[in-house]
Subunit: 283 residues, 4 copies
């Protein structure tokens, strides 16, 4: 067991030890800076429990992920304050990487603020994020590591940022994006070609973050800051399939799953996304 982790919910998938894995799942159950609907701390357990509902065989890829080497490193026991939580998360991710540096890490949120630690450790060249929000604030409700600031902190690390499915932001964030060369696509303008045009030129490796509130509201009603008018399930899958074929991916995360009802729509959507992400990465 890792220093700060506890085994969350067992996904009934045959799993291997971290050192032998090709894919490593790690939960970051933090929701200390959620502004509207708290509960993202239950995300990691909800996503795993929802996988009981799914076949491990991915029809589209003729791949059964039960035959892959997947390690579930459990959830990190995160302290209450965002700064301490980031420290503990960074330490634990480094510990995982030291045991197995080549496996593809997949993080389960927890708030979008928890995308900062993986990007800090993995040091990707670019950051592709699906999100209803720009998350380019400099600080929010008294914290620079609030979930609403995560894309800005990542940009400041010199990582190239591209945001898809946006339908919420402030004038200040829009101006910061244009001044900083951060490209984003409004949900109303989103289509496959717009995604390919923008991502083709991005340097590798790419860290891919999916804030589930990018999906249309009915798919993910239980999320921290819900927004109507989002993307369809297969729209996002299609884009990820193209990306995992063309670019070296440093890591994935699935963030902002919330609520307290086992098998709620948001956790089912996220669980299906998790299995597809693993399946497409094994093609």
């Amino acid at each position: 067991m890792l220093l700060y982790t506890y085994r969350s919910f067992d996904m009934e998938l045959p799993t291997v030890d971290i050192k032998d894995a090709d894919y490593i799942i790690l939960g970051l159950p933090f929701d200390g800076t959620t502004s509207y609907k708290p509960g993202a701390r239950f995300g990691p357990v909800l996503i795993r429990q929802a996988t009981l509902n799914l076949e491990s065989y991915i029809l589209d890829y003729d791949i059964d992920i039960a035959e892959l080497k997947i390690a579930d490193a459990g959830d990190v026991a995160l302290p209450v304050s965002i700064e301490d939580a980031i420290k503990v998360a960074v330490e634990t991710i480094k510990e995982v990487r030291s045991i197995n540096p080549r496996a593809l890490p997949i993080f389960l949120g927890g708030e979008h603020s928890m995308t900062y630690p993986p990007v800090k450790v993995l040091e990707p060249k670019s950051y592709v994020v699906f999100d209803a929000h720009l998350d380019l604030r400099d600080s929010y409700q008294g914290s620079r590591f609030n979930h609403a600031c995560v894309a800005r902190r990542i940009h400041e690390m010199g990582v190239k940022v591209a945001i898809f499915g946006v339908r919420s932001g402030t004038r200040e964030e829009v101006m910061f994006a244009s001044q900083s060369g951060i490209e984003w696509v409004h949900a109303r303008d989103y289509n496959f070609d717009a995604f390919v045009d923008l991502v083709s030129s991005l340097p590798e490796p790419v860290y891919v973050s999916i804030d589930v509130d990018v999906f249309d509201l009915p798919l993910v009603p239980e999320t921290g800051t819900p927004e109507p008018g989002g993307l369809g399930f297969w729209e996002v899958i299609e884009a990820l399939e193209w990306l995992t074929k063309r670019k070296k991916v440093a890591g994935f995360d699935i963030m902002e799953v919330s609520g307290d009802r086992l098998g709620n729509s948001t956790s089912i959507t996220a669980a299906k996304l998790l299995f597809y992400v693993i399946g497409m990465s094994a093609r």
Copy 2:
């Protein structure tokens, strides 16, 4: 404070007094004639509370509604019987108009029966309504002012009626519509051009009513009489954007938001609609 109102939920938007406002919000929390799922009385507080989740800046229009002069006149304390509720609502709307006749009034329902008082006071030339139901019954469950009769009562005031997104009505209502020259578009036949064709010829000013059950069911599960197979969020926004550009609007309402859970999908959808309606009207 107005005669019969109480300050519902504070939207954390900077607001001005009624006399200085360009936009006036007034809640009509009545659900006395709801036939299926009661609870629309909570609509006004649910919509306002859901706005905590939203940015006041509208990306699409580069307009921050926090910079506009918005007054929140609170909710009207409505008596139980529909006739008395209409009287009290009419009196309160007249009181608001007497204080400020030029501001754009936006009413938050409450049942669709509460669209009758605003139209009665504002006396628009035409009535554009997004609704899953025709609402052209002569009387229903013993009342001629039931929510299922509101479009007929408005037609009888000599107002030109056009209904979009319909997918429920009786043969009698369909016959009445054709005999009375009331045009409506089935949800299955709805598209932008059908909307423009029909609305272009309507006399001004136009009163615009959005019964949230026009949206597809998953967006608005918590509403009085839910119906599957409705319109998408951006479909309705796009039509309203065209209308607010081409026609003088006498007023708006967002009706039939229900349920009892803070931040439920229906109230999130209605809150986003409210901010976009104000934003597009300020373009």
Copy 3:
């Protein structure tokens, strides 16, 4: 309006300005250190909205609190971190006291960590608290101001602490209590006489805090750290009636109301408690 507050939900009670009030209500919607079920940030709005369900006339005291001078100072907009939240809360409570030092302050939580600011400002001689938990930890999940430490911090201010309805604590907390002369009564041993025996000797003024999880679980299912085997509603009311008659009370708070459903059991229980606390204080 106070510096950091926003008007939450209007209780439909006739209210007066802070300077003219005999009773002042202030919401502290913070849940940044909740360990199990987050959502106490919705407490203040849930409690007020639930008062719509209640008569203002208290049968038991033949007192109608609608005839009292009650001010609703709204909710404090609290930053995300516990330390900053305490600073802002202390400042706002001082601001209220400067406007009106003689009125009885009643605070609505929000987590039990928010009892620290009122006690810090009001400087009572003793602290009577109804709680399922001892809350005598020195620090918890990385913070000394965690909700699980609040009684210890208050003890360290030299305030005499007495805890009733306890059914959860660590060995370390039990030892700290016995070494520090902090008396507490287990829920299984609680009765009126045990309360009177212990409270009679306490120095005045007394600050009274009610963590709603003292009540039996079915009354308050929506609370941060629920526990079965608690006290009955009238058991707590009876004790408060005796105390408000015998001792000078510096202030009250009703903490840990959570959930997201308007009119949930916990908020109904808390709203009734709020009206009774005001009514009994006016006898």
Copy 4:
């Protein structure tokens, strides 16, 4: 790992291997014959997740169960049919007993039908059960192993049966009980002395089964066949405290926890019961 088990939810309690344990927890997540409200399959994960809410220190016994040797053997992956599920459960319990025959086994339901396998393997002399229902039907909905028949099957194994907290049964079950010398106490007649009188004379060892629907309905709203008018939390604890002092106990189970909401009242009540059962058994 055992043949048919998967590690459910990690209770954050320090645990030991099965062979070294004094207490072994095993989940039997089966709800194949539930007649009214299905969902008991979620019981084991709900109970474990609810323990996150509790201190491991039991005030009443000055015992910290985190210092005890507890093994969590996970949940048994049970097939759909009741007969197969019983076979797999019996095999797994035998496997556990072969690894460690002296530890106290505690089973988490799952339906009350899953009490049959433990009793079959452990072969106690008597069976003390807290239940709102007699469960003495010969067969129900086509199965002799339906949850409503479990007490009859156990009686037929020659085990002395005593049932407490009953408030539901058929005339046929009542006649069978009287003809078979099965004693039971109606919830309305239940008190500590009635329990002691009946249990004192029972032969040892005793298997103790707690169907959570024995508790009063508000404590356990999420259970397979809920019944109003049940026992209080401390009433059952008090009886178990007496029994674990006087009689050799072969095993415990906590059955019929259901629902799908993390931290629902039923799972909180069952989790507290689980910790008290372990604590009292270590006195």
